[in-house]
Amino acid sequence: MSAVTKTANSPVSVSANSKEKKSMPTIIVGLAYLLPSLLLFSVFLFYPMIKTLYLSLFITDTQGNPLNFVGLQNFLYLFTDPNFLQSMKATFLFVLYTVPIGLVIALFLALIANEKLKGIGFFRTMFSSTMGMSVAASSVIWMFMYNPTIGVINKVLNLVGIHDVQWLLDPKYALVAVSISTIWMNIGFTFLILLGGLQNIDEKLYENARIAGVSYWYQLLKITLPMLSPTLFFIITVSFINAFQTFGQIDILTKGGPTDSTNVIVYSIYKDAFVNYNVGSASAQATILFFCILLVTALQFKLGERKVHYQ
């Protein structure tokens, strides 16, 4: 993407070579610079990931100590447990509701904000503003907007004759309500990435198109979208992963309810581990989450590789 010109590797001069030999071997020096990262990744990412995989095969006590090895029984139990199946269903529906719509809206915003107009910087800033909003703050605002009696959403719906929708208390609407607020929260980030992608497209392509006199839509379909495909591919993967990892808005808006309709997987893990103290089951669910995300990433790499146009 960025035109990083490769500097020709000039042969290392003799004096530099002799100096190298006197000092420490490069591998030690290199590892020293990498040590802080490697250490932190080991302690707070690789070790706990392996521990999660390990604990998922055990029945544990409330402190998370493994008691007896049960093999895949935690998983077998989960896949027959209606609560977990409901949680999977809620997660997939949530992904389905948020990812495509969020992407289309952000793409639309990026396209109109990519025009060269006076004052466009102002609009770009506005469109990216939700990126500066925390999940907690955004959720509190949306909670108020969804309030059935004093919230603005029902006030507006009243005007068109729809009354008393219990957004967050009705199992039919709760997941939709959480999804709408999530789409809003993610727009800023998705917009910013897509705008960056649009601005990286070579201006000359558009000049040629202008000379050829093609329509806006033709240009959009034949130049903009194909050239944007690496960015689109990236942001789709990230959006999928983010959707699988949703927690904050659920915790504040619905606490997984009503009747588990918004009990997405991370919330379910959280509840099992820190409310029910069932660490074995929580670990098995975390393992499933890990493989879901691995699958999405692998799948998109495989599918993306063929369809994506790289510059």
């Binding site: 590797n9 990931m49 109109i112 107009l117 500066g132 910013l192 990286n200 393992t287």
Partner: protein, 270 residues
Amino acid sequence: MSITRKWTTYLLLIAATLVLMFPILYAFSISFMSGAEVLEGKIWPSSFSFENYRDAFEKVPLLHYLINSFAVSIFVMAGQLLVSSLAAFAFVFIKFKGRDAIFFLFISTMMIPWEATMVPNFLTAQKLGWINNYLGLTIPFFALAFGTFLLRQQFKTIPNELYEASQVAGISRFRFFWNVVLPVSKTSLVTLGVYSFLTTWNMYLWPLLVTNTEDVRTVQIGLKQMQTQEISTDWGVVMAAVVVVILPTLLLLFLGQKRLQKGLTQGAIK
């Protein structure tokens, strides 16, 4: 661009801004309302009163939470900048056997969802005595693959000849890193810094797990608590707190939007 197209675009831009910004403006508006006005479901306050703001700071230790959040965010930002830039330097300037394998290890960290590791991490934090402790809120986040990739992209633009010349001149690697590489990469460091601060300030799940007293509780968790305690009675106060919480990050975003966008696309796509 034709006149019609220009005005259609402006119209779309303005309409989109109004829709998108509505929740934020609404929160501002509510924060100035009296309790009665909130319950009437008004959109705009009849007069602007700062009473809710005063109450927000008096009824909950909001200032204390704000200071905690600032401390944690600044600390994580500094840590991420240092740890990521050290790693990026090794990936660009120090060639050694096995470096590519380690680079692959860095990439693989991006495939591990942090939430899948939270239970053992919580147990680790407990063992280290990091519950209700700044260390627990900050140190686990110092290493950042994304930050390393972003800075690596930047460091690659520094001519290798410069590094070789410094070696010949007998300047130590660390001095080259500190006195040459970091100063010329200021822009990327600022970008990453803004990103670090934003994400840390807005962090939710981990602070929820590792804080259960007011001591080091961050402002996001403070908000959650306010909202559960004050629900339906004092929405104006809650919204005042919301505004106080989002102002620092919104300002930071408004100032750094352009850089952030550039940095995110650079670090992300490459």
